[in-house]
């Protein structure tokens, strides 16, 4: 199995699919001549020409909406969102057109559109450039929301996105672009809505996705040192959400910790925790814990930014709390 970076896994999949399918076109800001902000699209303008690799003006609403129209007329556009923060300018197009036009047309059109780019925080970009916006997309019927955590997932999930009929919100994590990993050979694809049990364990279920998966795994390793065997679930996609795997795991371990980078209120973790509570209520031995980013706009100062992000230690403590090996924080869960 070849080893690729997360970045190259995405780039090579774009190349493979563009070679295979002439209807795949790329749009975005500075993806062509500039080679892409994160170099995902490096050299692709040269390879495929300006008709297929379209450098757009700074007009997120405009080019996302145009991509929806292209998708309705038989193209397979892949929009690069320089970061998901900028997608708010296109939110109306994504929510009111991309997600719904199949439905309100009575099923007369497909919208095979992929919007991809980095989501999340960690490199001191402060309040407007560090958001984790997955929940506002996962809330909307008609969309798929994909959050790959490894190079293999980036490839396998992007392949599935590029062969579907629906709009896909493909959320990469900038902190993972240089991560290396082995990739299965050939026409490798991963289905949406199938979580992976990355590490089996009997004592507590820890649920993560995207970059948080790696912190969950690190916490699980450390917990093993004190005799706690955590089961770590990697969601891969938030919508569709693999409710079965979540519930089955919690029914086995009787405890769950959900990890997300975004703000706590109304976040993805709330939906995951509610899913577990609904499906495993009678078998739970402790309240479900959520480990999340701080409920503040992201600060710039490095020390404050670190305080605003979830940590491995917080995941460990949350797991211990579910096992009653650590007290709840002062103020209890009402303030948490």
């Amino acid at each position: 199995m070849p080893e690729l970076s997360y970045r190259d896994a995405i780039r090579s999949t774009l190349i493979e699919e563009m070679d295979r399918d002439p209807t795949v076109v790329l749009l975005g800001e500075d993806i062509g001549q500039y080679q892409g902000t994160f170099r995902i699209t490096a050299d692709l303008l040269n390879r495929y020409g300006p008709k297929r690799v379209i450098d757009t003006p700074i007009s997120e609403l405009g080019f996302v909406g145009a991509a929806v129209g292209m998708a309705m007329l038989g193209l397979r556009p892949v929009v690069e969102m320089m970061t998901w923060n900028f997608s708010l300018l296109a939110y109306d197009q994504i929510v009111n057109n991309a997600a719904k036009v199949r439905y309100f047309s009575g099923g007369q059109v497909d919208v095979p559109l992929v919007i991809r780019g980095p989501n999340g925080a960690g490199v001191q970009l402060s309040a407007q450039h560090s958001q984790s916006l997955e929940a506002i997309y996962a809330h909307v019927p008609g969309l798929h929301v994909v959050t790959p955590a490894t190079p293999a997932e980036a490839k396998g999930l992007l392949r599935t996105a590029l062969r579907g009929k629906d709009p896909v919100i493909f959320m990469e994590h900038a902190a993972l672009y240089s991560m290396k990993g082995s990739i299965p050979n050939g026409d490798f694809a991963l289905p949406f809505g199938q979580a992976e049990i990355v590490r089996p364990g009997r004592d507590v279920t820890i649920v993560g996705y995207s970059r948080m998966l790696h912190m969950a795994l690190e916490a699980a390793e450390r917990l093993a040192g004190e005799g706690i065997e955590a089961e770590v679930i990697n969601l891969r996609t938030l919508r569709p959400l693999d409710r079965r795997t979540l519930i089955d795991s919690a029914r086995r371990t009787h405890r769950a910790v959900v990890v997300q980078e975004q703000w706590k209120p109304f976040g993805a973790g709330a939906e995951i925790a509610a899913t577990i509570a609904e499906g495993a209520f009678d078998l739970l031995d402790a309240p479900i814990e959520r480990v999340t980013g701080a409920d503040v706009p992201m600060p710039y100062a490095r020390n404050l930014e670190l305080l605003a992000l979830p940590t491995v230690e917080e995941i460990e403590r949350a797991a211990r709390r579910t096992l009653y090996r650590e007290a709840a924080p002062a103020g209890g869960r009402v303030d948490a």
């Binding site: 003006p57 609403l61 145009a66 292209m70 197009q93 057109n97 309100f104 009575g106 059109v109």
Partner: protein, 349 residues
């Protein structure tokens, strides 16, 4: 075109706006007779939708097209069967003119399974993709970028098909308009945007007049910011609209560059069915506009040319009466969607 832009002022003159007329011969009046019939059906259809709304048969919003028929008719008269169009929420006539069965359009308004969108869209979301109608959209300006991308796709596929984009005067003040038209202008330079933009300037965005909403009231001139030629025409006269449409469609088809036309028109009814008192305009203004009813103007052209006589006109209106009555009956008798339909069409298979 620049001459026209500067010659026209922003004020609508219902008694006879300055119009862009071409010295070349007007399109054939005989074929206009078929469009007169379409316009008469659409007018009668909208009268019936208002009645059905008042009777509680139609829910939600209802935006009727009466007064603006010459605009959609004039443009769709120049469209090929394989061309496509996008429009906003005042879309019933666009569906009818494109050939959607009146019964299916009425059934959509009634929320029936036999509607053009299977009862899932309603008044604002008329779709008939096999006939090139890609919707009916309810967020003002939100459909503009879709049409730009669709036009790009038509050229990308190597066809000479064109895309029509209907929008209202109010939509020109949205960010979607500016971002999309800039893209259209850019892609047009490469011959990759065969788009005809039709501004249906009916003088009001809901209850706010163009003069109170747009810093520049000559709307056609605003396209110059995107290197898109724009002209203003009398949207009440089918013959004038059709002539402008013929030019615009031919130009977009041959060059792959967008063209814009502002059709100055007027809606006779309120913005929506709930706009009963219309405090933003007075009765005189509406009466003044009705004096230039597009259905009557076309009728006068056809009578003047000897194509129509009294009997022919009466026969057309009688036929329209029957067609709309049949549409209502079809809608009334059609089944409602099944409970299973609730969750179909969310995703592709």
């Amino acid at each position: 075109m620049a001459d026209r832009n500067t010659r026209m002022n922003g004020k609508r003159n219902a008694a006879g706006p300055a119009v862009a007329t071409s010295p070349r011969e007007r399109p054939d009046l005989t074929s206009a007779a078929a469009w007169y019939r379409q316009m008469a059906i659409a007018r009668r259809f909208e009268e019936e939708t208002e009645r059905a709304f008042r009777r509680g048969k139609i829910g939600g919003y209802l935006h009727v097209y009466s007064g603006q028929e010459a605009v959609a008719a004039g443009f769709l008269a120049e469209l090929r069967d394989d061309d496509i169009l996008f429009t906003a929420y005042r879309d019933h006539a666009h569906a009818l003119f494109r050939g959607a069965p009146p019964g299916a359009v009425m059934a959509e308004l009634y929320g029936k399974a036999t509607g053009v969108a299977r009862g899932k869209g309603g008044s604002m979301h008329m779709f008939d993709v096999p006939r090139g109608l890609y919707g009916g959209y309810g967020i003002v300006g939100g459909h503009i970028p879709l049409a730009v991308g669709a036009a790009y796709a038509l050229r990308y596929h190597g066809t000479d098909r064109v895309c029509l984009l209907f929008l209202g005067d109010g939509a020109m003040n949205t960010g979607a308009f500016h971002e999309s038209l800039n893209l259209a202008g850019l892609w047009g330079k490469e011959g990759l945007c065969p788009l005809v933009i039709i501004v249906e300037n009916n003088e009001y965005g809901m209850g706010t007049s163009v003069a109170r909403a747009s810093a520049v009231t000559n709307l056609a001139s605003r396209f110059s910011a995107y290197a898109i030629p724009g002209e203003r025409v009398d949207g009440m006269d089918f013959m004038v609209v059709r002539e402008a449409a013929a030019r615009a469609v031919a130009q977009a088809r041959s060059t792959g560059h967008p063209v814009a036309v502002e059709a100055v028109t007027y809606r006779f009814a309120g913005h929506g069915a709930a706009d009963v008192f219309q405090p933003y305009r007075n009765k005189n203004e509406i009466e003044h506009a009705r004096a230039r009813d597009p259905v009557i103007i076309l009728e006068q052209h056809l009578r003047g040319a000897g194509v129509f006589d009294e009997a022919r006109v009466a026969a057309i209106h009688e036929e329209a009466e029957h067609i709309v009555a049949d549409a209502v009956r079809f809608a009334e008798e059609s089944p409602i969607p099944s409970a299973e339909d609730l969750s179909t069409d969310v995703h592709g298979a």
